[in-house]
Structures are given as structure tokens and as C-alpha cells.
Point group: C2
Chain length 432, copies 2
């Protein structure tokens, strides 16, 4: 009988087995974006009917104030407390980060000065999936750092539903002070953010939030066309768990399943020194999967992208983790703190905690994180990503006279005559 | 007789007249990248012969230590002083920025903690154009913030030339402590950085530096494929000048020409309240252009992308500048400091100084800046761009027991059963 998850040794672990955006998806996303750019609200209405089975028009595209206000009463106390607690914890951390991220650097240079002046991006759009499963947590994870950075205008797009927008999303939006919530789904939402919809919404400077592969493709297209900045272009979500001494097999299995249920191609990787522990986790996975109400995605992900790797040493596990550069690195066991010190490349590191707490703001971090190995060079979302910095350079006339010849010589070196000329014109006694 | 630069009023100013990357360029860049990924050194040799007329092989692709060492003696004293002065000034500013950018944020959350831990990107590649005009200044502008951030490994790629690499580039590289300099041009260089060349060079995590439109396309492709981070994907370089009271027409004209010579589609825009000043600058442009040795590019840029806009007020000029979001914003005149305060969107602001000083490090800023209006959401290059931040989240077992139900409720809200299960497993008394 074949195992749910393969148990392998390190040399059989293929870290490249991660899914990208298929070319045909990008082509279709591009076509939808072009259409929305050209036909605005008419295109939105058509796609809404086609993809969301919803009659959308300029009269109902914006969620009404009364729908937003009534949301709170449609949540139970535990649901509200869950959102409140996440809001408080994540806000506390982002406010702290903002103190560093918003520092202005001013520096005297010769007789002049240079300042690197930070400011918040002006307009941010957050896409919140809301079809099958509404994701209020993602709204908090994008909205809280945006607010902490000082972003003035935040709008939300979320797919239209017959029963109205999920009250959890509306409640979270209200806590964030967001009153512009548009019923626009997926690719069209990113297009609307990039180009604006005449008479309906202005374009934004930055688009945030998760979505399916089409929304990801649209974000990638909008960003590389220079239309806006994106938080991150999310590939399939992934976890790599290092189980140290005393790690619990049921925890490891539960966390692998939580990862795997994100989609049909979400890698959940476990590294352990113990073959016995590996077998124990595999057995737990089979058992817990059987008890899960909706287990289809999780099973597909585990069968095709899951792996339990039996390593020779913790050092080898650290090396594999560093080279894999996972979105989520979870470290379990008595020596978790020690093990964490030996890995640098990861979106977020969970030390004896798990993705469920992190995804829902209980541990205070952010769940919008770099996937597919990009943690080597990209950061998880924080206030820093909502800040733009401008160099302000002031130079005195007298110093310009002194430096004119050096800048002129540099221009000559690079074959840029007009550069050299503009510099030398600042020389003392240069003809007026 | 038609003017070199049109003098227009604000309602005729089309800020969208900026060139992007043509689709066919991206297609060709992609083909070259795929080929380099597949055939490594063999592909590099072929393209080198084709594009640079140079016989490249694994024996001569790396610049020798003796070639690097001999560079200094091939520069004259003024050239060396120009590079030295730029190095000192830019380094001083970036070291100051590094103090802020490298702050670790640690924050207590409940009984646990979150830290956002910065680290420098591990491997950076800098592309330095070197065919017609070598650009040692760009090497400094990318290399200095990388070093100040703490990047451990920096490599350089620059096109091969019969006479060897420009001594100015080698001298700048040596000052930066870079000893791996590869003779690889344009698109192939970006491909080599993204994929690595077996036996020759490892792949890098971030690619920096300017280049032609093919190199820009390659950077865009590599970044959106998640292969590496790029500093910025540069469109045509541009300047917007606001001339206030007492601005000099010859300075404004010289600076427009310095901008225009960057290519055949570099916008140089001047905003002034005075029709008379506008005419004066136009006359200066004609005069100075005639005196310039290589004026072909500058003339094309000015005719097709240049404009002098006569505004009704400084407030209107500020509004236009903010909406244009220029790469370079130059403000001339007695009231320059005041005018600067009213504009936020710009890559860099030069207050009574000019791009020639800024491009060559004399004013201490950076010349790798966002183009095409992306200054709305992207920053000029600094230490910040070379830093990755990882969330480290630690949570106590006792707190997990308390929060398990809230995280569980959140999982239910989002229809993620395995998330809810993983959280609730941490509850007190949950079955082991």
C-alpha cells in the first residue's frame, strides 16, 4: 500500500518541485486586464456574470454603509474576539516596526546635505478572496501594516456573492477604517486597481492580498508593467518543518495538513533525524486526514508535493532549509530556539508555534510571505513595504564650483558630453 | 522654423508620453535567457561573438587579477580623484542609512515574542555597461549600498572589449573589494546571474545596474519569474525641472541636455511661470546643442520627448510634478527649498543642484532611481533594497492553550478545517 507522504533521504529531495504560474494563465489574465482597462464597468459586469454569477452594475458595485454596519451583529462573540485579538496583536507589532521604518536619514555631505525621506504610499488596494472561503485574516495582514505606515487611502475588492460580503470581512474592514469595499473578483479586481474604473474607483499605487493563480498572474503583470507595486506574487503556500528532540508527531502532522489544505500543490516538508518519528508522523497524517471534513486538497498536496526527509544531522536539516528558503519554517522540540539560529532563508520562522497561530495573527507576525524560494531575497509583508523613500539633495553654489571639474572629468570618462558641460558650467567664472 | 523643444501650456502636457519595453524585445530577451539557462558557457560564447565581436571562452571570461591591479596606473589623477570623491561621499551617506535600515525590531506579544530580523542579501550581481561608454558611476551606485548593507559576495558583469575592461570600472571595482569581474554583456549577463553558469559562476540573489532595453527586459523577466530580485527595471531616464525666481536659463538648458543625451527617448521637461524664461531656455538649448560634440541622441530626445510648460503658478507646477512623479526632480531658484516641500512623488529631488553632480556622487545620493512614474511607489536604491527581513515568532505553550479556541474559530470562519484542527490540538487536554 502506498504511503500518503513519501519518506525519503536527503539526496532524493528535489527542492525545485514547486509550481509556478503557467503561461496560459498569464495570457488569459492579460486579456482580462486589457479588457477592463478598455471597457471599465461594462467589462466588470460581464466578468461578474461569467465568473461569479452575479449581476453587477455601477449601482451595487460598492458595498453600502448599512451592509458594513450590520456586519458586527452577524458574527458570534468568539468570531469577533478572534478578529479583535488578531487585530490587537498584529497592530502592536506593526506599530513598533513603523518606528524604525519611518526614520528619516539626514546626512551632511561636504557643505551640502542628503536626506532619504520616507513617506507612506498614497493609495493601497487589498484584494480579499471571498468566494468559497472568505479570508478576513488576509485583510488584516495587509491592512494593518498599511495603516501603521500611514497609508491614507485603502480600498478593498472582494468577489460578489448572492448573500452579500462575508460579515467577517466587513467587520475587519471597519476596524481598519476602510469604507470603500468593491464587489469585484480576482483578475478584474487587480485590473481595476491598476487602471481605475472611470466614475467608480481611482487607480491605486499598490495592490495587496492573496488570490488564485489568475489573480497572482494579474499582479505580476501589473507590477512588471510599472502600473503599481504589489505586496508579493504568491505561489503555492509551503511549510518546511524541522522536528528536533521531543517534537510531537501529532503536532507535526496537523501542521503539515494545515499547510497542505491551502491548495492542491502546497508543499509540506518535514525534516527529522529519526526514521521512527518519520513513520509516526506518516501514520498521524493518515489518521488525521481521515478525520478531516474537507480533505481533498490536503490529500492531493501531500501525495504530490509532500515529503518526510530523514536527515543525518540537524546541521544537514538546517542546510536543506536554508537552500529551500521556505515561506514558513516551523521548528519543533526542546532545542527549537537553537536550531532556528542556524537557518537564515525563510519568510517566517515559527519556534514551537505553528502556522495556525501565525496565519490568524495570534503570534503577532504577518502571513503574507515570500514563496517558492524567494525568501532568499524577499521579505514578509510589514510597514517597510508600504514606504517609499526619496533622496533630497542640496548642494551649495560654492561647493559646486569646486567639484565641477571632478564631475566634468567623470562625464568625460563615461562619454557623456552634456553631463560634463552641465557640471563645468557651474565652475567659477564659467560664462553666463 | 520649428523649435527644438515645444513650448506648451499645461493642458497640452501629456505625462503619459513615456516609452515602455516593447513586447518583441521581451520575447528576444526571453529566448536568450532560456538559451543561456540551457547551454551555459557555450551560449555565452556564441552571443559574445555575435553581439560584442569577441571570442569568449571559459579561460578568458573572468578578468585576471593583474588586469584589475594595473587599472589604477591607466587612469590620470583627476579621473582617480573623481572616482575617489564619489566613493567617499556616497559611502558616507549609505553608512548612515545602514544604521537605520539594519535595526532589528523585537516586540513582546502576549507571553511570546515577534522579531523582524534584517539581514543582507547573500549574493549580488552588478551589470556595468561598458561598450560605447563605460559606466563606472553605476558600479559605485549599486556596489556602495550593497557593501554598506553587508552583502558578502558581489560579482560584476560587463561586456567584453578588445582593449580589455575600462580601467575606470576596474578601479571602482577594486575600491569596492570586488574581485570577480566577468566579461559578459547585456541580456546574457542577467541570464548568467539568474541561472548561474556551471563551472564559471553561481547564480545571484539580486541583479543591479543599468543597461539597454534588452537588459531591462531580462531583469524584468528574471524578477517576475521569481529567480532573483532586481534593483529597478529602468525605463528611459527623465528629468522634470521647476524653475523658480532667479533660476538661470543656461543652467536649466544644460541640465535638460544632460538628461536628453541618455538616449533617444529621455524626457526633459521644464516648468516655468515665465514665457520669457521659456523662450530663453529654448534659445540656450539650441545654442548649447550646437556646441555639443555628440548631440544626436540629445536632439532626438528633446524633439520627441522634451517640453517646456508655461504654468500659471508654482502650485500648478508642483501638482504637475507630483502627478508626473519624475525620476529626477530639479528645482532651481531662490525659492527652491520652499518649492521642494510641495512635491512628494520623485525618485530624487535636486535643490539648486543638478543631475551631473548627482549622477557622479558629488551630492551624495544615488542615481539608480525609479522611472516612468513609478516613483509613486518605488524608491531610489539604498541600503534598504539589499536587506531581507524575516519574522521570528515564538509562542509559549501555555498561551497556545488559551488562544487555541480563537485560532480554531478563525479557521472555521475561513473554511480551513486543518488549520482549525492544528490550533485546537494545542488546547489543554487535547488528546495526544
Amino acid at each position: 500500500m502506498s504511503r500518503l507522504v513519501k519518506i525519503i533521504n536527503p539526496r532524493d529531495f528535489e527542492k525545485e518541485e514547486r509550481a509556478g504560474i503557467p503561461a496560459e494563465v498569464s495570457i488569459r489574465a492579460q486579456a482580462i486586464m486589457d479588457d477592463v482597462a478598455k471597457r471599465g464597468m461594462d467589462a466588470l459586469s460581464e466578468y461578474s456574470e461569467k465568473f461569479d454569477n452575479f449581476k453587477l452594475d455601477s449601482g451595487n458595485v460598492l458595498v453600502s454603509a448599512s451592509e458594513i454596519d450590520s456586519a458586527e451583529s452577524r458574527l458570534d462573540e468568539t468570531q469577533k474576539r478572534a478578529i479583535d485579538e488578531a487585530f490587537e496583536r498584529v497592530s502592536k507589532v506593526q506599530r513598533e516596526i513603523a518606528k524604525d521604518a519611518l526614520r528619516e536619514c539626514a546626512c551632511k555631505v561636504g557643505e551640502g546635505s542628503v536626506a532619504l525621506v520616507p513617506r507612506a504610499i498614497s493609495r493601497v488596494g487589498i484584494y480579499v478572496p471571498g468566494g468559497v472561503a472568505p479570508l478576513p485574516s488576509s485583510l488584516l495582514m495587509a491592512g494593518i501594516p498599511a495603516r501603521a505606515a500611514g497609508v491614507k487611502e485603502i480600498i478593498v475588492c472582494t468577489p460578489p456573492r448572492k448573500e452579500g460580503v462575508s460579515p467577517a470581512i466587513l467587520y475587519a474592514a471597519k476596524k481598519l477604517g476602510i469604507d470603500k469595499i468593491y464587489r469585484i473578483g480576482g483578475t478584474q479586481a487587480i485590473a481595476a486597481m491598476a487602471y481605475g474604473i472611470p466614475g467608480i474607483m481611482g487607480k491605486v499605487d499598490m495592490a495587496c492580498g492573496p488570490g488564485n493563480v489568475y489573480a497572482a498572474a494579474a499582479k505580476q503583470i501589473a507590477a512588471s508593467s510599472g502600473l503599481l507595486k504589489v505586496d508579493l506574487v504568491a505561489g503555492p503556500s509551503e511549510v518546511l518543518i524541522i522536528a528536533g528532540e521531543g517534537a510531537r508527531a501529532d503536532y507535526a502532522a496537523a501542521d503539515m495538513l494545515a499547510q497542505a489544505e491551502h491548495g492542491v500543490n502546497s508543499p509540506a516538508i518535514l525534516l527529522t533525524k529519526s526514521g521512527e518519528f518519520a513513520e509516526g508522523v506518516e501514520a498521524e497524517l493518515e489518521k488525521q486526514l481521515a478525520e478531516l471534513p474537507n480533505s481533498e486538497n490536503a490529500e492531493k498536496s501531500l501525495r504530490n508535493y509532500g515529503a518526510i526527509v530523514v536527515v543525518e544531522s540537524i546541521a544537514q536539516a538546517q542546510e536543506i532549509a536554508d537552500s529551500y528558503a521556505p515561506e514558513h519554517l516551523e521548528i519543533l522540540g526542546k532545542d527549537a530556539q537553537e536550531i532556528a539560529k542556524g537557518v537564515t532563508n525563510a519568510g517566517a520562522v515559527f519556534v514551537n508555534t505553528c502556522e495556525s497561530f501565525a496565519d490568524y495573527g495570534m503570534s503577532g507576525g504577518n502571513h503574507i510571505l515570500p514563496t517558492g524560494g524567494t525568501a532568499r531575497f524577499l521579505s514578509g509583508l510589514s510597514v517597510y513595504e508600504f514606504i517609499v523613500r526619496t533622496y533630497i539633495e542640496v548642494m551649495e553654489g560654492s561647493e559646486q564650483e569646486e567639484l565641477a571639474e571632478l564631475a566634468g572629468a567623470f562625464g568625460d570618462l563615461e562619454g557623456l558630453n552634456a553631463h560634463a558641460n552641465a557640471a563645468r558650467l557651474r565652475k567659477k567664472g564659467a560664462k553666463k
